[in-house]
């Protein structure tokens, strides 16, 4: 006999779909089938069941081989590493729950470490822009029920957030958007003709890295002022046409992604996008929302902000929280070789940091807490596999629109395997003893 669990939360992307169904064996030990999730979410649930999964902590030996050790020994190693280090870096947090993040922040405080989340290589520049000029935003429910103008700028939800358009932004029939896709005009701005762009009413194939100019040109067009013949490769008449489409709606939303956060102008691109949203509010109602990647990167920013006052790139080495991206941010710290111990959890900087920063991880004592084998575990001294959060344990997570949703446990982890929260508690207890903290 099998059992179907409904309303399961998918722990992959910031869309945090809450309508997934999974079929488990009667004893709750095997996950058999997944329904409603996208292909990436399905793979995440099913991979937890793979036979070649690492189930015990592994310590790298002098000859490069791995030696299996117990969780107690792994917690000892981690606590000693953090206690000894002058400037440890604790990075990741976006693929674990808020409860584990909070314990991690306590460890960071005791260890006087730098701590950062994956926003550093994702929407960190968005957070800088939000601190500059604020963010007029809304929830995805409002988008579903109200938005008749949807702009995807430098993002490709067809690939990165596969169910975003079907659950919230384009296809659903909402209260004021009863005809679904027919009720909405869709504009995509991207230098490639992406699978999202192919669905759009208008695709502006912008010259790569010229987002700031085009955003400002749209602001100019909204005011009816003079424009050059072409801006960022887009003819002036096309810019005016899109400005008219944008302001003629009743409720508009600008979703933006890595195309603007990772291009050269970075936070200034987002400044311009938010300023455009503000200008559009003189004509109609407009909101703007970052397309957050990891399923709980938003939660990590929230927990950092509650506990330290800043959403990422926090430096606690002086015993109080400092925040100065460029100085206290992970990629810069690692590239400059300022870090003498690396603690990674719920992310993979080995794959997603520039190689010059990854070399900084390989040089120092390092712990990687991750259910998968990754490039980060491949260059770390200790690899601690843990239960899959959102599959083998529950916990609180934040959707991309800052709505908190509790993830659910649907299947038992392999026997003896700890969760992030349990392992971090072991590390915290040991670290407090080593540091003489009550």
């Amino acid at each position: 006999m099998t059992r179907t669990i409904t309303d399961v939360i998918c722990p992959f992307c910031g869309t945090l779909c809450d309508d997934v169904e999974v079929v488990v064996s009667d004893d709750g030990k095997k996950l058999l089938e997944v329904a409603n999730a996208c292909v990436i979410g399905t793979e995440k649930f099913l991979h937890s069941q793979s036979a070649d999964r690492v189930t015990k902590p592994r310590l790298r030996q002098a000859d490069g081989s791995w030696k299996e050790i117990s969780y107690d020994e792994a917690a000892d190693y981690t606590a000693k590493m953090l206690a000894k280090a002058k400037k440890p870096l604790m990075y990741g947090w976006s693929s674990t729950n808020c409860e584990a993040q909070s314990i991690g922040n306590e460890i960071a405080e005791v260890a006087k470490s730098c701590c950062d989340n994956t926003a550093a290589v994702c929407h960190g520049t968005t957070l800088i822009a939000v601190q500059d000029i604020g963010l007029p935003s809304c929830t995805l429910g409002e988008v579903k029920n109200r938005a008749d103008r949807v702009i995807f700028w430098g993002c490709n939800p067809a690939h990165a957030h596969p169910r975003h358009m079907s659950r919230y932004s384009i296809f659903p029939r909402g209260f004021f958007t009863g005809k679904g896709q027919m009720s909405r005009k869709m504009v995509v701005v991207d230098p490639r003709c992406t699978d999202t762009a192919k669905m759009a009413d208008v695709h502006l194939q912008i010259q790569q890295g010229r987002d700031y100019e085009l955003l400002d040109a749209l602001r100019v067009a909204l005011r009816g002022e003079w424009l050059p013949d072409s801006v960022a490769g887009i003819p002036a008449e096309k810019i005016r046409e899109v400005a008219d489409i944008m302001k003629s709606g009743r409720f508009g939303i600008i979703f933006f992604g890595m195309g603007v956060t990772q291009s050269l102008s970075k936070n200034h691109n987002i400044d311009a996008a938010i300023a455009l949203t503000k200008d559009l509010n003189e004509h109609t109602k407009y909101s703007i929302m970052p397309m957050r990647g990891h399923y709980n990167v938003t939660g990590s920013g929230e927990v950092f902000a509650w506990q330290f006052g800043f959403p990422y790139s926090v430096d606690l080495t002086r015993g109080f929280a400092r925040y100065n991206p460029g100085d206290s941010s992970s990629v810069d710290l690692l590239t400059r070789g300022e870090v003498d111990a690396m603690f990674t959890i719920g992310s993979d900087p080995g794959a997603h940091f520039p190689i010059s920063a990854v070399k900084g991880i390989a040089k120092v004592d390092s712990v990687c807490i991750d259910p998968h084998m990754t490039p980060t575990s491949g260059v770390s001294k200790l690899h601690v596999p843990v239960a899959f959060n959102g599959v083998e344990c529950g916990g609180n997570c934040y959707r991309m629109d800052n709505v908190p949703i509790d993830c659910r446990k649907v299947v038992e982890p392999p026997v003896g395997m700890l969760t992030d929260q349990e392992f971090l508690t072991m590390v915290l207890d040991r670290l407090k003893k080593l540091k003489g903290v009550a």
């Binding site: 081989s65 230098p191 790569q208 084998m373």
Partner: protein, 135 residues
């Protein structure tokens, strides 16, 4: 036809990359999904490369061997795309210009045919670049 061409490199998510990272980065499927460079047909012609030829991509910051494939989300002449992962991150511009964010999009690169050079697996590539001894 030239021995090498210059293009503007961007990186980003693809759905194949998403599936591959969740099914195991130690597997060959990760290399299939991300150890590639998507190039416009016009650029492949300029380079004189057949589709699915291994190429060496070099920037000011490093070089990496990947498989050149036809753009799946084109046309985008002059722009090349490597899905996010260790292959792209071997050559992208790591400068953050005081924002904390490397410049993952918009790195000028040179592409040349490297038909006899292998595309490494993801973990293998990072370990080799970092000089990690593997037992």
């Amino acid at each position: 036809m030239a021995n090498s061409i210059k293009v503007n490199l961007i990186s980003g998510r693809t759905i194949q990359q998403g599936v591959a990272i969740e099914s195991g980065k130690e597997k060959t499927s990760y290399r299939t999904a991300c150890g590639i460079i998507e190039m416009d047909n016009a650029d492949l012609k300029k380079l004189g490369a057949w589709k699915n030829t291994n190429v060496k991509v070099t920037s000011e910051y490093g070089s990496v061997v990947v498989k050149a494939v036809e753009a799946t989300q084109g046309p985008h002449p002059g722009v090349a795309f490597i899905p996010m992962g260790p292959w792209a991150n071997s050559i992208i511009n790591p400068n953050t210009y005081s924002t904390g964010m490397p410049t993952f999009k918009g790195t000028p690169v040179t592409v040349e045919i490297a038909i006899n050079e292998p595309v490494l697996l993801g973990i293998e590539l990072v370990q080799k670049n970092c000089g990690v001894i593997v037992g």
